[in-house]
């Protein structure tokens, strides 16, 4: 009887492919089109990565890729360079340092942490933008974008469940 081959999960699987998927999703949702007279929502897809990656395992590669993805958002949307890169990295840092508290908790607790990280990233983006253009962006617009980004939590949870191998070295 032939044994089953061991599946090796490398950085390409849990960092590379999700990052590419996030970039593709961002490009699709940047299409100027209206569905039933409504514009497409504009969630921050990389928020999924900023939340899931530090919980899967600490990595040196993940912050670098998150920086690149954040700069991609800034360039694609025409925003200040570094705005989303810095906001996402701050959210990543908070989750990384709170990792011992989060790992192993149930989905509702994870959702709470995800909402908190999303609000933190948007709050930083709000402050950076206000300092950059010396004017306050609309809070209502920011609220709706936070809302559609929070709706991406199932994707983040799926990513964590798929790649969290429970290795005690990462606890």
């Amino acid at each position: 009887m032939r044994g089953r081959a061991v599946r090796v999960v490398g950085p390409l699987h849990w960092i590379g492919y999700p990052a590419l998927a996030v970039v593709a999703a961002t490009l699709v949702f940047a299409t100027p089109v209206r569905l039933f007279r409504l514009p497409l929502p504009e969630p921050i897809f990389p928020m999924v990565l900023a939340f899931a990656w530090p919980l899967i395992r600490p990595s040196m590669l993940a912050p670098a890729v998150l920086l690149v993805v954040g700069l991609f958002l800034d360039l694609l949307w025409g925003g200040p360079m570094g705005l989303w890169a810095l906001s996402l990295l701050c959210a990543y840092g908070v989750i990384l340092f709170a990792r011992p508290l989060i790992v192993g908790q149930d989905v509702r607790a994870l959702l709470g942490w995800y909402v908190g990280a999303t609000i933190l990233a948007y709050a930083l983006g709000y402050v950076f933008t206000a300092m950059d253009v010396k004017a306050a962006p609309s809070l209502v617009g920011a609220f709706f974008q936070v809302l559609v980004t929070v709706l991406l939590f199932p994707l983040a949870n799926n990513l964590i469940e798929r790649f969290d191998d429970g290795d005690v070295r990462f606890r």
Binding site: V33, A64, L71, L75, L76, M81, D132
Partner: protein
Amino acid sequence: MSFRDGPFENLKVPLTWTAAVALILAGAGALLLLLNDKREQLDAKAYGARGAFDAIAAPANGMFAHPVRWVGQASDWVDDYFFAVSENRRLKKQVAELEAWRDAAVALKNINSRYESMLQIRTEPPVPMVTARAVSESRGPFVNARLIDSGSRKGIKVGNPVINEHGLVGRVVGATASVSRVLLLTDVASRTPVLVNRTDARAILVGDGSGNPKLEFIRGKDAVKAGDQILSSGDGGVFPRGLPIGVAAKGLDGSWRVKLYSDRGAVDFVRVLLFEDFAQLVNPEALNAPPLTALNKAAPPPSPELAARIEALHPTPHPGAVAAAQPPAVTLATPRPAATAAQPTATPPKPAAPAAAAPTQGNGGRP
């Protein structure tokens, strides 16, 4: 011997710390980029290296956008099917209202053209336009911009206004050969000088990332009422005067806001007005170049041949005396008869005669 059987078997890699170091380095890089960003200046220099990214992103985005556009067309078809009757009623009502306006416009156009010919007014020349398609859009609270598929190859420059069939959309803040970036009126960095059509009061339209930008710095008391039409004022020269922008409405926060006409139109097709503002028409270096700067300086001495020709054209009664009193360079700086050449060259130039200044006032009638 495998790695796990060796002396490194119990080695605990400080992954969290190495990740933290990588995080700090990446964060420092992002912070440096943010501090050095000059996007809010909204000019060609600030656009800089973003142009290369936009030139690559536009076709890639267009490829990803195709399936979404098909879905959008399907939704439009369903929308048209279910709302055809109500839209037909609305359009019939609108046509009945517009017929009266059409008759009034024809009569006014006739009177206006007679006045123009009687007063010999130099009317504004038609502004050439370029039609473009938006390939990407950002609608978030921090950035509202579009990437369009036409660029400097078609004559688009930074500062050109962008409209659709209903009104002003924004302006070009970056242009490459094939794509341009348009800053929408709703962007938090957008500031547009406007006027209220009813009272001619001036204001500034300030974007804040929401769908309805605010009216700020409104001049005059009770200058705005709900329903007033808002037009571009042309102040500052960036936009031509009179482009329709929207209708004034009171916001939930008590501030005056504008419901944009451009929201009624198609979201993807726009037209770029190849209108040039003052900053583009006037080259500051040309203004400071000779001969104006030469008024306070001595011109270089003429060559012997040139001096001989000048002497032949303007013979002086006492060449030796004039030459002793005034160096030849100064006589060249003021092309006048030799009798007046001895006047000081620092005399300010006479103002241009009205007849000579008239052609320069044309400028397309721009403010």
